[in-house]
């Protein structure tokens, strides 16, 4: 299979490889995929509690070149975004940017899922904080 130049570039020079401390309050971790399917992505975001912006991101991926490139790309894209902005990143954007062939679309879907998982992990961790604020009235 021929890979696009952008996929090859990310594969050869992956951005933001590594891990943050999972226990850190300001870190959200998303691990998606399954070894049996041939892809596992771990995406971590580090959020500035003052501004609510994602100030750093790291990834590790087991998978094909397109999976590595998709996760490398989203670490660049989420940086500087708020959590809500990060959640607007769609797999179609990733697939388009990397010119993924149809058989590799699932890699971009996985990368989108990884963002969602990391954001919801961060939110879950910090739910305690929010709980201190007055709870909304429920019916």
């Amino acid at each position: 299979m021929a890979y696009s130049a952008k996929v090859v570039e990310h594969y050869e020079n992956p951005r933001n490889v590594g891990s943050f401390d999972k226990g850190d309050e300001t870190v959200g971790t998303g691990m998606v995929g399954a070894p049996a399917c041939g892809d596992v992505m771990k995406l971590q975001i580090k959020v500035n509690p003052e501004t609510g912006l994602i100030e750093d991101a790291k990834f590790k991926t087991y998978g094909c070149g397109s999976a590595i490139a998709s996760s490398s790309l989203v670490t660049e894209w989420v940086k500087g975004k708020s959590l809500d902005e990060a959640l607007t990143i769609r797999n179609t954007h990733i697939a388009q940017e990397l010119a993924l062939p149809p058989v590799k679309i699932h890699c971009s879907i996985l990368a989108e899922d990884a963002i969602k998982a990391a954001v919801s992990d961060y939110k879950a961790k910090n739910a305690v904080e929010r709980a201190r604020q007055p709870a909304p009235v429920t019916h």
Binding site: M1, A2, Y3, V8, Y11, P14, V17, S19, M31, V32, G33, A34, P35, A36, C37, G38, D39, V40, M41, K42, K60, T61, Y62, G63, C64, G65, A67, I68, V103, H106, I109, L110, D113
Partner: protein, 406 residues
Amino acid sequence: MDMTPHFPIYMDYGATTPVDQRVVDAMIPWLREHFGNPASRSHAWGWEAEAAVEKAREQVAALIGADPREIIWTSGATESDNLALKGAAQFYKSKGKHLVTVKTEHKAVLDTMRELERQGFEVTYLDVEEDGLLDFDKLKAALRPDTILVSVMYVNNEIGVIQDIAAIGALCREKGIIFHVDAAQATGKVQIDLATLPVDLMSLASHKTYGPKGIGALYVRRKPRVRLEAQMHGGGHERGMRSGTLPTHQIVGMGEAFRIAKEEMGTESERIRMLHKKLVDGLSGIEQTFLNGHPDQRVPHNVNMSFNFVEGESLIMGVKGIAVSSGSACTSASLEPSYVLRALGRSDELAHSSLRMTIGRFTTEEEIDYVILTLKDRVARLRELSPLWDMFKEGIDISSIQWAAH
């Protein structure tokens, strides 16, 4: 578009081999001035073409210890498998409708068996052991009074293991069951002597043994005689078993390729055995690396390895100067892990992490050295990227985790 790699190291001889220069030279005259139809009986163009075809038939027969009259030309091993299985099943169906094969066979056998199931036959697909070999007792237990045919490949295309064809053949002979062997990956690699080997039908390919693509043969035993129902009807060529004008140049090429294989197999195998050892020893130095298939009961041409926690496709992408494959070339377009490795009981993730390297006539020691170095480097780099490798290093059992399948 230029698809040729820039520093090509060809390590995919199991997919196809380059055509030996001597074979090309032998073929050319039959494309130029000697263009006759071997079936033309009324002039010299036909006579010389027929003589060339018959000489090639002798050369092919000689490599496998057969009588030239037992060789039927086909377009390749896939067609040979189709003709053997459908032809024998349909001819002998009044005797029974049960067929037996193995889960690790080539798709040319498995898909043909599926078609025979649609035609009303019943097929048993036998499991193999962890080393890729068939358990003789399990085969014995699978045979029934209505079993008419058993099909077992000689050398597995993905993992290179050699099945015990002599023992299986003896059992089939004793029970009066037709025995078909797909030997596409065996010719020129293992000694085959059909004068003593109890095999009834054997599929042969040219392009895995340094001959051209588009030509193959089916061995059909004369004593005891095996009958087939033709699948290709027409001018009654090949004693009615396979009609169609014979491609003289292709046939001459296969003949010459098999002549060379017979002559050079001894020295070539020694050299390849040495290269195999070097490659396996070199790669075994990498942590969490496993050789797939029996370590000794195999052809040295094949090295199929799993590099745990590294995904195979990404590894292939990283060694782009080297032509290798993950799984068989026929199924590499799919995302499914190799069904052959699955049949060995390898986990899905180990199957996803496998690479097939096949070495051959033109592989050099320097190439093997380069491949070892490159793979070591790439595996290390990809493990740096792998969350599974981290978990392994932290002592977390990956199989204990509840993964969300997608």
